[in-house]
């Protein structure tokens, strides 16, 4: 029944494949199909959340398995995809008008868009490490297709860089996966790669070999999550992709990497290897935050700035994970949600500005506040929220991660605080520079933002404020449930 709900949207895809591009209203039809697809996913996720006893597993080999953690990530993904699908309707129309995308490529774009949602959801509910690996590879390919649909040669370069970096790193992961399989075969007699069994059997794995396997797998997942030094693909891919795709990349795709790392860490948590692994994660995290902070200082391209901010947040989450207490894990999970919502808001707003000014560079944007009030409001709210100001969701998660870091090591806390200050300063500088530029000459034609593009931005702002101020009890219970089920 549940599987059927997640399998149903395949029909939508079929419908997309059999439509002919010559028909009038073709783009709108495709978009409606996409919105329907995303809504089905969101509705079935909420249904499972409300009425199904978790965890549920499918098939005899337990290849698919829905637990609270997977469902939480699916929930984030389906919210972001639904809003992105709505936003895409207006955004793609704008791109068509400017000839940045061809009509013939709409099918490709929406096909990959829908397929990406399906693949990501199945990645989150797959119980098997190898299946998870395969689905992650597919997400790389599909998002690369989404990047190359635009008519620009740089997009092909950015996508290639993405595919190469991610899949090369994922090959290392595969070695690690084989090692884990071999270890369990030695320890238990029959090899297993299921998360649910690995976490039970963790104590019987040989420590040095498990550390090696963890490191191999970490390389691939870190490349997916954009952890330094495997982050090189991330800024060009985010900057060149259409804004709606950048939002998906940043809000959902990076999560897949972090999700895998958290799962793996939960297994490592039950072995003696945890000490070295935690230290390694903290080092990676601090370096990531450092590199991102200094790269953000002199950015002129708004989307590159936001992309580097994504790297910084991934680093912060890795630091939190490395600290490894239940409290900090709770806030890392919360950080995932807050980060996804705020990043979508930022990229959606940047997309509107790109439509208005035809550029992502701040010096091309004049009279932003009077020309595009909603987009600039979104940018300001997003910018203020992403650095973790009170009233916004990231305030609490950053605060608790930093408090725990202070208990671990005071000098390190000082260093990270300094780096976060640089991040905040660079975002503030960018916002001031963008919003204060005025020009006497007003453009002849203003870009009129359709309501389908406004609605997602307003929804996101409302959601960010709600979560930041009230922090619903339901979410709280859900997160504590996840922390408990991961065995912390």
């Amino acid at each position: 029944m549940i599987l059927l709900m997640y399998g149903l949207p395949g029909l939508v895809l079929l419908a997309i494949l059999f439509m002919r591009p010559q028909r009038p209203g073709y783009g709108r039809l495709l978009n409606i199909a996409t919105v329907v697809n995303a809504s089905i996913y969101l509705a079935s996720t909420i249904f499972i959340l409300a009425g199904v006893q978790l965890p549920v597993s499918f098939f005899s080999g337990n290849y698919l398995y829905i637990d609270m953690f997977g469902l939480y990530e699916v929930l984030i993904a389906s919210i972001v995809f639904l809003l992105a699908a709505l936003y895409a309707r207006g955004y793609i129309r704008g791109l068509l008008k400017k000839k940045e995308i061809d009509r013939e490529n709409l099918k490709l774009f929406y096909g990959a868009f829908n397929l990406l949602l399906i693949v990501i959801v199945f990645a989150f509910i797959s119980n098997n490490l190898a299946l998870f690996w395969i689905l992650l590879e597919l997400t790389t390919i599909l998002s690369a297709i989404l990047i190359v649909t635009l008519n620009a040669r740089e997009n092909v370069l950015a996508a290639l860089k993405y595919v190469f970096t991610a899949s090369t790193a994922m090959l290392f992961s595969f070695i690690g996966i084989i090692l884990i399989f071999a270890m369990t075969q030695q320890a238990l007699g029959t090899g297993t790669l299921n998360w649910s069994e690995l976490i039970v059997q963790a104590h019987s794995l040989p420590t040095p070999l498990f550390t090696l396997a963890f490191m191999f797998i970490f390389i691939g997942l870190a490349a997916k999550a954009g952890i330094v030094p495997f982050h090189t693909w991330l800024p060009p891919a985010h900057a060149k992709a259409p804004s709606v795709v950048s939002a998906l990349l940043s809000a959902v795709l990076l999560n897949t990497g972090i999700y895998g790392i958290i799962r793996l860490y939960a297994i490592a948590h039950r072995t003696p290897a945890i000490k070295q692994i935690s230290l390694m994660l903290i080092i990676f995290g601090v370096v990531t935050v450092g590199i991102a902070a200094f790269s953000m200082l002199s950015r002129e391209n708004i989307k590159k700035l936001v992309a580097f901010s994504s790297i910084e947040h991934m680093g912060l989450m890795i630091i939190g994970l490395g600290l490894g207490t239940p409290v900090v894990l709770f806030w890392v999970l919360f950080h995932t949600l807050g980060h996804a919502l705020i990043k979508s808001l930022l990229f959606f707003s940047a997309g509107i500005l790109h439509q208005e000014f035809g550029s992502n560079k701040f010096y091309d944007m004049k009279n932003v506040l009077s020309l595009q009030p909603l987009a600039s409001l979104g940018l300001i709210v997003g910018g203020v929220a992403i650095i973790g100001t009170p009233m916004f969701p990231l305030f609490f998660s950053k605060l608790y991660i930093l408090i725990q870091l202070g208990e671990f090591s005071k000098p390190l806390l000082f260093l990270v605080l300094l780096l976060l200050l640089i991040v905040a300063a660079s975002i503030a500088i960018f916002l001031i520079r963008t919003c204060c530029q005025t020009d006497e000459v007003k453009p002849a034609v203003r870009y009129r933002v359709p309501w389908v593009m406004k609605a997602p931005i307003i929804t996101l702002m409302v959601m960010i404020f709600t979560i930041g101020i009230f922090f619903p009890q339901m979410l709280q219970n859900m997160l504590s449930g996840i922390v408990f089920s991961l065995g912390f």
Partner: protein, 228 residues
């Protein structure tokens, strides 16, 4: 415990390493593809020998699949792409000259051997299996070296494919993964290579974006059908 199969496997290992060395140094693209095909053929022989020894049918299947995809299909696709982009040779090496690459890869094999020697107790005790794992991981690193040291996209793809061969060799010797997983992996890899090849076409040639998208589209449809 010395058997004919293991002795033959040892000889094949040496040949695999030779092919890797050739891949590092060779400049002509057509010979690069041929060397890659030969290397894959060697791997399928290894799988066949293991099947002879152990009698696990999954190994036979993997050997067949390797011959079909890596010896026939992928080189064919690469040759076609190469015809489209009109380049015969990849003369540029960005950071390393071929000689230093060879030296570095020798050092890499040694390092991998040394570091895996630490972990021997956790894995299978057999010497041939251990060597297989070491050469697999070394091949992985050599492939990465090719990706770093070559400039043209199509040669980088050869580097990636070499890495993949390394992973295949490693997985042959370390553990028998569940049958279905192997199938999915090879399917996934083919898709990846096709995509990369088409993307490479978009960069290296002088064609317009429109042509590029035209080439991308029918492929993507095929790809979606595979998904169902």
């Amino acid at each position: 415990m010395i058997s004919v199969q293991y002795e033959l496997t040892r000889i094949l290992f040496v040949l695999v390493l030779c092919s890797a060395a050739l891949l590092i140094t060779q400049r002509s693209l057509t010979s690069l593809f041929s060397i890659y095909a030969v290397q894959s053929l060697l791997l399928s022989f290894v799988a066949l020998l293991l099947f002879w020894k152990t009698g696990v049918y999954a190994l036979l299947f993997i050997a067949g699949l390797t011959i079909l995809t890596k010896v026939v299909v992928i080189p064919y696709v690469l040759r076609k792409v190469q015809k489209d982009i009109y380049t015969k040779r990849d003369l540029e090496f960005s950071y390393l000259s071929p000689v230093s690459s060879i030296l570095i890869s020798t050092a890499l094999i040694f390092v991998v051997y040394k570091s895996f020697a630490h972990f021997r107790f956790g894995l299978s005790q057999d010497n041939v299996f251990f060597m297989g794992a070491v050469i697999g991981v070394s091949l992985l690193f050599i492939g990465m070296l090719i990706i770093f040291s070559r400039k043209q996209m199509i040669t980088k793809i050869i580097g990636y494919l070499t890495m993949e061969n390394g992973v295949l060799l490693f997985s042959l010797f370390i553990a028998e993964l569940p049958f279905i997983i192997e199938v999915l992996i090879i399917l996934d890899l083919i898709i990846l290579i096709l995509l990369s090849a088409i993307l490479a076409f978009g960069i290296d040639s002088t064609s317009t974006m429109k042509e590029f998208h035209r080439k991308l589209d029918p492929f993507s449809l095929w790809f979606k059908k595979q998904q169902k």
